[in-house]
């Protein structure tokens, strides 16, 4: 029976080659997107799921509240580590560790030198108790008990000690940072599964002092939080987490910052469970200092929706074509029933056929998956691959997917057909009755709604992106760049030397001292006080530091007042928004007022025009520019900003000049020239990948929908060849016949458009809310996308109807 069914299925697939092809390809595109996106999502959810007792492991992080602002830090103050080590009730094991960057690691005996090792940590035995590493040499009890001990992962050990086995490595000496001798006390296997714990050198915690790091036992720096200072712990089974949380709250209160300026600030210790770490917590922080990827749940959610919709499209297409095609087989079903087939057998047969097609589609989609994944590789974390699809879980998942899809798309036609009464079929009534047309029309409309929504959304998102990337930010972004001076070389002499060398470069039309560029992601702010009719007004103000040519370099005009007298005088230039925030009707009036910072009175001498200090997601904020006078310990001028001038031909030469100047002053440091236009573009990296994804989704959605439409057209026209023959004999011309055949499809596309407009308008509206500057959701975008879709649909239907309308009537009528 089964073989017989498969045989019939296979033959009918071959008999309707075009139809089956469309059917399988449509579904496989949907499946392929689902598989690829599934693998991407799986990747992010597979991080650190292998740890023993992972549900009982937590990390403590810090949350700071200041006014309306909240920011997080993945680290904790060091003394908190000691508090936990001393014992907190309910906590079973504690693992504090501190990130470590080593400038150099040297194995003298084999003359191996590695520079910039950034994946180290200072840890104690608690770390290896909490996280289960496989020990290849040494043991977790003693490996980190003494100063100057280090545990390496197998891969790192192989790097430092080429060709030596883990056991041979034990006891060997490594020299860290040129002078610190450390003994290798253990080798552990690297974690093989996906993990954010990518540490390679585990230095004993008691060595921290040798490296000039904080000491846990003695530190009392409760108000110093650095993101590398990590605190993990494991709770006892069945422990009340609320008790631990309230203990942390109490600790935070007890050690609150007592400085006057911090009076209104608040700090909280927040727990993060191990599985959450990969998703970056509240503000999307990276998991650790050495991480290069953080997963975003919103992105993953939107991805899954895209996958779901593409899969649904494929299924809808499949159901549509399958059921349309199945009806042409009503006769076969009728005959089978007269031969004794039961309802169940008919259902089984059709499910079987659907199953074959689904399996074909799945195989095809597995073939296509690597290519699709490649298209997204640009904005995917490295290390993502499709191997999960071929793992046990993956295969089970695919089987499940295939089963669900076959059932979804096979059941409907199977049931419609099995309900046919053989007499009705054999009498030919089925050709008259339009069984399932309603469903088919609904599905077609659904397909086109999805495709249309994707089209409109893509167009609008692209429009918004174009808008923000091209909107005048109020500063010069073309041909302006800056170099940041090395943070670990604070020599004023070198700074000055570089500056004067750069001033001599001919191609640079302007060179200025400054801190951050006027537009960037790094912004610091302070509270300035203004006395307004005897009332103190505190104004949160963003700060910029620059010399007296800084504004000119960035093309920011002064609207009133004057430039500051020199680079280090205590004078402010503020923006219009600041003046308005203080309540000046005419912003120019702000010039000549005094502002108080801490205890100094500082005059406002000029008013600069407003510009956007950040991406256009945020609005313009009150801002003040001042010179280098704030802190005697270090200079606020840590970057040199310059204008490359208008002559684009010389740019390369000029940049080379800058690089040479830098190399002569800082031979050991790498130069990084940051161009303003690139910086601005970088603001919208996420949006750009959204657009990329949307473009793909749109393309695929259109493709599937058109395949579906084509299938339906093929089916309909084939059913109507006789009618067309008769009409032709009666004198209808080609154009009339084409209109006759296309009309019903175009109506469906029009209905889909009507449904898609409000949906896409709503979705884009939601998305665009996150921007302070919004492009208009113009009606022409909607209209254009609708017309575009209609044209595509017309092309698809037209090609086929034209062919059908052209058939010689004698041929089509002879068939009966």
């Amino acid at each position: 029976m089964l073989i017989n069914h498969l045989k019939i299925a296979w033959r009918s697939i071959l008999k309707n080659k075009l139809f089956s092809f469309i059917n399988v390809v449509g579904l496989s595109i949907g499946l392929c997107s689902a598989l690829v996106i599934g693998a991407i999502i799986y990747f992010d959810f597979s991080f650190d799921t292998f740890h023993k007792d992972k549900d009982r492991i937590y990390r403590v992080t810090s949350l700071f509240k200041s006014g309306n602002d909240e920011f997080t830090n993945r680290g904790v103050p060091v003394p908190l580590m000691q508090t936990f080590k001393d014992g907190v009730s309910g906590v079973e094991e504690v693992a504090p560790f501190m990130s470590a960057n080593f400038s150099k690691v040297e194995n003298k005996s084999q003359e191996v030198i590695l520079k910039n090792v950034n994946d180290g940590i200072f840890a104690d035995e608690g770390y290896f108790q909490l996280f289960d590493y496989q020990w290849l040499a040494g043991n977790s009890q003693t490996a980190l008990s003494e100063p100057a001990q280090v545990v390496l992962t197998k891969n790192t050990a192989a790097k430092y000690f080429p060709k030596k086995s883990p056991t041979d490595v034990i006891g060997s000496t490594l020299v860290y940072n040129d002078s610190i001798n450390v003994k290798v006390s253990g080798v552990v296997a690297d974690f093989e599964k996906n993990t954010d714990f990518k540490f390679t050198d585990f230095m004993s915690m008691s060595s921290a002092k040798m490296f000039g790091e904080k000491e846990i036992a003695t530190s009392d720096q409760w108000n110093n939080t650095s993101s590398g200072d990590q605190l993990f712990f494991k709770v006892r089974e069945g422990v009340d987490m609320a008790a631990i949380r309230s203990r942390l709250d109490a600790l935070a209160k007890e050690h609150k910052n007592t400085a006057a300026w911090a009076a209104d600030d608040e700090r909280l210790f927040v727990l993060q469970s191990l599985p959450e770490i990969h998703f970056g917590g509240k503000s999307g922080d990276y998991p650790f200092n050495n991480s290069d990827h953080v997963a975003s749940k919103t992105v993953l959610t939107s991805l899954s929706f895209v996958a779901l919709f593409l899969l649904l499209l494929g299924c809808a297409n499949f159901i549509n074509l399958n059921s349309a095609q199945a009806l042409t087989r009503a006769k076969e079903i009728g005959i089978r029933k007269t031969l004794g087939s039961s309802k169940k057998q008919v259902v089984r047969q059709f499910l079987g056929e659907t199953f074959i097609l689904t399996v074909l589609a799945t195989l095809l989609s597995l073939l296509m998956a690597p290519f699709l994944l490649q298209q997204f590789s640009e904005f995917l974390p490295s290390g993502i691959d499709l191997s999960v699809l071929y793992s046990m879980q993956g295969i089970l998942g695919i089987i499940l997917l295939v089963t669900i899809v076959s059932i979804l798309s096979g059941f409907y036609p199977a049931f419609v057909l099995s309900k046919f009464r053989p007499v009705a079929v054999l009498k030919g009534q089925f050709t008259k009755g339009d069984k399932g047309t309603r469903l088919r029309k609904t599905l077609t409309v659904f397909q086109f709604v999805v495709a249309q929504v994707f089209v409109i959304a893509t167009m609008l998102v692209t429009k918004q992106l174009h808008f923000v990337m091209n909107k005048d930010m109020g500063i010069k972004t073309e041909a302006v760049a800056y170099v940041r001076l090395p943070w670990n070389d604070k020599s004023e002499v070198k700074k000055e030397r570089l500056f004067s060398q750069m001033e001599k470069i001919k191609g640079l039309s302007k060179v200025s001292w400054g801190g951050n560029p006027p537009t960037s992601n790094n912004i610091s702010s302070t509270i300035l006080t203004y006395f307004k009719e005897e009332n103190e007004m505190h104004q949160e103000t963003e700060m910029l530091w620059g010399d007296i040519t800084y504004l000119k370099t960035y093309g920011i005009p002064l609207l009133a007042g004057r430039e500051r007298l020199n680079d280090s005088v205590k004078e402010y230039i503020v923006n219009e928004r600041f003046a308005k925030a203080l309540g000046f009707q005419d912003p120019a009036e702000v010039v000549g007022t005094f502002l108080k910072m801490d205890s100094t009175q500082i005059p406002v001498v000029g008013l600069m025009r407003d510009f956007n200090q950040r991406s256009l997601r945020s609005d313009i904020k009150p801002l003040a520019l001042t010179g280098d006078w704030g802190n005697s310990n270090y200079s606020s001028f840590n970057a040199i900003h310059f204008d490359l001038g208008n002559n684009t031909d010389n740019w390369n030469e000029t940049i080379e000049g800058v690089e040479q100047a830098w190399a002569s002053v800082y031979p050991d440091q790498e130069i990084q020239v940051e161009f303003m236009d690139e910086l601005v573009e970088g603001f919208y990296r996420r949006e750009r990948s959204t657009v990329q994804l949307l473009k793909w989704a749109t393309g695929l959605a259109i493709l599937i929908s058109c395949l579906g439409l084509m299938g339906l057209v093929v089916y309909t026209t084939e059913r109507r060849v006789k009618e067309i023959g008769v009409r032709k004999v009666l004198g209808a011309n080609l154009a009339q016949l084409n209109i006759l055949l296309c009309k019903e499809f175009l109506i469906l596309v029009a209905v889909a458009f009507a449904v898609a407009v409000p949906i896409s308008w709503y979705l884009v509206q939601e998305w665009i809310e996150s921007f302070a500057y919004k492009t208009e959701l113009s009606w022409w975008v909607f209209l254009a996308s609708g017309i575009g879709m209609a044209v595509i649909a017309m092309a698809v239907t037209g090609a086929r109807t034209y062919k059908t309308a052209n058939i010689n009537p004698i041929e089509s009528l002879r068939n009966e």
């Binding site: 029976m1 019939i8 076969e332 089978r336 031969l339 309802k343 057998q345 009464r421 053989p422 054999l426």
Partner: protein
């Protein structure tokens, strides 16, 4: 007695009006009979045949088939009944286009859950008997009308039914091909198979042992 129809009525309701397709049909068929149903077009011949073949339902009356009362049987039971005892032959053959001659013949046996080896033997038997061994691997579209109908009859016979129902089996054939089919029926009848056929041709009707005339759904 093979089957018995008592006061069978069948109607459709259109626009609130009952249109009778069958009116008060009373019919007894003994095993081994060869009956021809005749009547003008639209008189209800096919409808009656379908009712007898349990492909169609009726609205009133009693139908007993081999001492089972068909009107009170469930669909599944009913389909078991005809699967076992009834074979159909159609005017337009109704062979399965995707299957070869051999596979078409095999189909009813599969539905009767007969084992593969046994099936092969039975199919080979039939091919032999109808002299179509050479055609066993061809598809219906590759056969002439007469050959297709031959396969149709062979397929109806293969499960050795007690009753063969044929709706204008020669309607699409030329007179020579028609005669061959009729001879075949006659021979089958002599071997003990009960046959009920619908026909327009007086000549074909003569092959039967009894003629039933229908007019407007009524036996006359």
């Amino acid at each position: 007695m093979l089957l018995q129809l008592n006061n069978i009525f069948k109607w459709v309701t259109t626009g609130g009006q009952r249109i009778f397709l069958l009116k008060d049909i009373n019919l007894e068929v003994e095993e081994g009979e060869f009956i021809s149903i005749m009547g003008p077009s639209g008189s209800g011949k096919s409808t009656l045949l379908n009712v007898i073949g349990m492909l169609d339902t009726f609205d009133e009356g009693e139908y007993n088939f081999m001492d089972e009362s068909v009107h009170s049987l469930k669909e599944k039971h009913r389909s078991n009944l005809y699967k076992q005892y009834i074979g159909f032959v159609f005017q337009s053959y109704h062979l399965l286009d995707e299957l070869t001659v051999k596979e078409n013949l095999e189909m009813p046996l599969i539905y009767k859950k007969i084992k593969g080896s046994e099936r092969k033997a039975m199919v080979a038997d039939m091919l032999d008997r109808f002299n179509i061994v050479g055609k066993k691997d061809l598809f219906p579209a590759q056969l002439s009308g007469g050959q297709q109908q031959l396969v149709g009859v062979a397929r109806a016979l293969i499960a050795s039914p007690k009753l063969i129902l044929a709706d204008e089996p020669t309607g699409n054939l030329n007179s020579k091909q028609g005669e061959e089919i009729m001879e075949l029926f006659k021979q089958l009848n002599e071997e003990g198979v009960t046959i009920i056929q619908v026909t327009h041709s007086e000549k074909n009707a003569e092959y039967g042992s009894r003629i039933i005339n229908l007019l407007d759904g009524r036996m006359v």
